[in-house]
């Protein structure tokens, strides 16, 4: 049997197939605290679909690794339940969960050869010698390390060790694989190469992957869906495109890509849009959540969604802003301005028209209502 054959598992495919598939992992009201007081993970609800590549993204200390460890069974939830394939796993020890795990520093066994490392989970499961050899060989071919059986981990480069760690997590054919910042120790180029590699392997096998990282680009590049963690909570779970285009929380807006966040107060409401007063200006914005006049909101405007106004009336929001500082970055011009007392960054593509932007002068900037999202400010979140 050839693991490279994508037809082996009907659920594998381009990720679109995965989206309609069943729920495979479910976090239901999971709470975790070590000292009984400080919550690490708070009332977490999350589902992972079969065959999906889901990334837990967040800054360090946001609870994402704790979630992974609870899923693997190394930590127990303080409250709530985790289900895998419909079964509650609270009482199942890690070794019986049949979950492949790739650790941050690979955790390859240094006294064993690559072949022995890969054979270990198979021998533990009592497979016979021939079956072990065959599966080890197949797993090594999957990660493109054929012929490395007799090397020791310390004879391999970082990228090769990473591949071995992935092969070892897959060799016993688990349906769920967890990865805890597996690319953190690699340099940038290797990291990007491995991102594609991991994605290729995941698609080939159609295996469900839960991946932890603090690198938003990595999360965007690899995932079907990303769960953005902040302070023990999930702020938003969506595909990378949706997270980028339609952030629902200020934290997501600022964590994924660049965003200008402006605090203001709703002055008027009209359907899905509203007028927000920010300092001495009024900005027309799209409401992500419903707001009434007088509510405090945060506006998010991406620097690259703003443009120079060459003809008044192009945008629903148009202002003449003073250029406080600017930097030429090759493909674009990064301009720091000020709006209503807030610093405001504008990204102007390096095409005709930017020559008129001069420090200390005014610049005519505009953006559309849909590119300006009004959200509840973070303080309100503790009340929901």
């Amino acid at each position: 049997m050839d693991t490279q054959d994508p037809s082996r598992r009907p659920t594998s495919g381009e990720g679109a197939g995965a989206k309609t598939a069943d729920v495979y992992v479910e976090f239901n009201g999971v709470h975790k605290t070590y000292d009984g007081v400080t919550p690490i993970v708070r009332d977490l609800h999350l589902t992972v679909r079969e065959g999906e590549f889901l990334t837990l993204l967040g800054p360090s200390g946001s609870g994402k690794t704790t979630c992974l460890m609870m899923l693997a069974g190394f930590e127990a939830p303080s409250a709530g339940a985790i289900r895998i394939d419909g079964r509650a796993v609270d009482a199942v020890p890690p070794r019986k969960r049949n979950i492949g795990m790739v650790f941050q520093n690979y955790a390859l066994f240094p006294h064993m050869t690559v072949g022995a490392n890969l054979a270990f989970p198979l021998q533990v499961r009592g497979l016979d010698r021939a079956a072990v050899a065959e599966r080890v060989h197949r797993a090594l071919r999957l990660v493109r390390l054929e012929g490395f059986e007799d090397r020791h981990p310390n004879q391999l480069s970082g990228g090769q060790q990473q591949r071995v760690a992935i092969a070892r997590a897959l060799v016993f054919e688990p349906r769920l694989v967890l990865m805890d910042e597996p690319l953190g120790a690699l340099d940038r180029r290797l990291r990007e190469e491995m991102q594609f590699e991991i994605r290729r392997i995941q698609r080939t096998l159609g295996v469900t992957v839960v991946y932890v990282t603090h690198d938003q680009q990595e999360a965007m590049a690899m995932s079907d869906r990303v769960a953005v963690f902040n302070a023990g909570r999930i702020e938003q779970v969506d595909s990378p495109e949706v997270l980028y285009e339609e952030p629902r929380r200020p934290f997501v807006a600022s964590f994924i890509g660049d965003n200008n966040l402006l605090r203001g107060r709703v002055a008027a409401v009209d359907g899905d849009t509203c007028d927000v007063r920010v300092g001495d200006v009024v900005i027309n914005a799209f409401m992500v959540t419903r707001h009434e006049v007088g509510d405090d909101v945060v506006l998010a405007v991406r620097p690259e969604r703003t443009g120079l106004v060459s003809e008044a009336g192009t945008y629903t929001n148009e202002f003449v802003l003073r250029v406080e500082d600017m930097a030429f970055l090759g493909d674009h011009l990064r301009v720091l301005t000020n709006i209503g007392g807030h610093g405001f960054v504008v990204k102007i593509p390096n095409i005709v028209g930017h020559g008129g932007v001069l420090a200390g002068e005014g610049v005519h900037i505009g953006w559309a209502t849909l590119d300006c999202r009004a959200m509840r400010p973070p303080e309100d979140e503790s009340s929901d």
């Binding site: 019986k96 795990m101 941050q104 955790a107 270990f120 989970p121 016993f172």
Partner: protein
């Protein structure tokens, strides 16, 4: 400022090749006092001791002509008159030079009972001018009339001898010069060596058994607690050996704490108190206690380098604790196990004070016998030979270890 930095940087680079030799010489010079100290206090005494085990020049020097004449002797019948005359002259000379006692001791070691033959003869022959030295010597001591006496003199006259080593290995040369075993009632050293090795092995295993879980516990405790626990391991280490051994006496003697407790809870009758000390048991318990840190520290230092994720990884791959431990954790601690075991074993086969204090009769080890020959019987040659055999055991062990584990993998802490 930048310019200054960029100027000084190449200058530093240009200087660099010069530095190592000077600093290396200076560093070597700093080590010289230690080297001298080691040579004077360790290598030189050790060397002379080892030389002493095979080099016995007393008789060869004092009676050189007699020994030379005996070299031509057929060994079947008593030597010729000339030999007697020479022997008498050299014995008298030796008495004048005040080495007759050493000569007598040396000859006596080859054949027991000849001490008086040598000393008495040297005393009585003084001033005599007999016609027949043979008759005169046999008259002063009948031993001179026996062929064996002269054979013993010839053997004692060997400047270099393997006799001490033979003796230490419970062997001897018979009359024909062949190497044979000592009579069974005189075979003590091999049995003692065997006991020493067995006791050392037992102590090593005990230390490993007791020390491994302790080291594991400390290595995987949170840093703050680990420091405290390590301190607990080290405090006994800093306490005087004598104090620790004496406290074992307090605990284990027949009127001691342990026996009192056993009697109190009724496990042991008052008149059948256990003999826990002044025997092999005392040696085992006290030495295990004394040597435990030497096992714990290398184990701890190795275990600390094993990432905790290895056991987690093994669990995630489906291994229970037992399998994970034996296949993943234990093999990685082998350098520490090897280092600790080698250290404890080598220290215990040469251990002297503790068995001397709490070992009684059955708990004595070979080093106590060496001490006996150094201090009581004054047979330094034999003591040196026993020491040499001990040293050979240690070296052999080291080579075996190197072969099996590899010395470069050893981690001593």
């Amino acid at each position: 400022m930048n310019a200054a930095a960029s100027v000084s940087a190449p200058a530093a680079v240009a200087k660099r090749p010069k530095r190592p030799r000077g600093s290396r010489l200076r560093a070597a010079a700093l080590a010289l006092p230690l080297v001298a100290f080691i040579v004077v206090t360790f290598i030189a005494p050790l060397g002379t001791m080892l030389v002493r085990s095979v080099h016995a020049p007393v008789v060869a020097d004092a009676m050189s002509e007699t020994v030379a004449l005996l070299g031509d002797w057929d060994g079947g019948s008593l030597p010729a008159e000339a030999v007697f005359a020479t022997a008498a002259r050299e014995l008298l000379k030796a008495r004048e030079d005040r080495v007759i006692g050493q000569v007598a001791t040396r000859v006596n070691r080859v054949q027991a009972g000849l001490r008086s033959a040598v000393t008495r003869t040297a005393r009585r022959l003084r001033g005599l001018q007999p016609e027949s030295w043979r008759a005169a010597m046999i008259e002063t001591h009948a031993a001179w009339g026996e062929v064996d006496t002269w054979r013993a003199l010839l053997l004692a006259g060997e400047r270099y001898t393997g006799r001490n080593y033979l003796h230490a290995l419970d062997l001897k040369r018979d009359a024909a010069g062949d190497i044979v075993a000592q009579p069974s009632e005189q075979r003590i050293y091999m049995a003692l060596l065997a006991r020493t090795l067995a006791v050392s092995l037992a102590i090593t295993l005990l230390c490993l058994l007791l020390g491994y879980p302790v080291a594991y516990f400390i290595a995987h405790a949170p840093p703050g607690r680990a420091n405290w626990l390590l301190l607990l391991v080290l405090v006994p280490f800093w306490t005087s050996l004598l104090v620790r051994t004496t406290s074992w006496i307090v605990l284990l003697q027949s009127q001691g704490v342990v026996n009192d407790l056993l009697v109190l809870i009724g496990l042991v009758n008052d008149d059948e108190r256990l003999a826990l000390i002044y025997n092999l048991n005392g040696t085992l318990v006290a030495m295990t206690h004394v040597l435990l840190p030497f096992m714990v520290l290398p184990l701890y230092s190795v275990m600390r380098t094993i990432p905790a994720t290895h056991m987690s990884a093994a669990a995630s791959l489906g291994a229970g604790f037992g399998k994970a431990f034996w296949r993943v954790y234990w093999p990685q601690t082998l350098p520490g196990v090897g280092a600790g075991s080698l250290l404890v074993f080598i220290l215990s086969i040469g251990y002297y004070i503790t068995p001397a204090l709490v070992g009684g009769r059955t708990g004595q080890l070979i080093s106590n016998m060496i001490a006996f020959h150094m201090q009581q019987s004054l047979n330094w040659g034999l003591a040196a030979a026993l020491g040499g055999i001990l040293l050979a055991c240690v070296v052999a062990l080291y080579l075996v270890y190197d072969r099996l584990v590899g010395v470069e993998r050893m981690k001593l802490g």
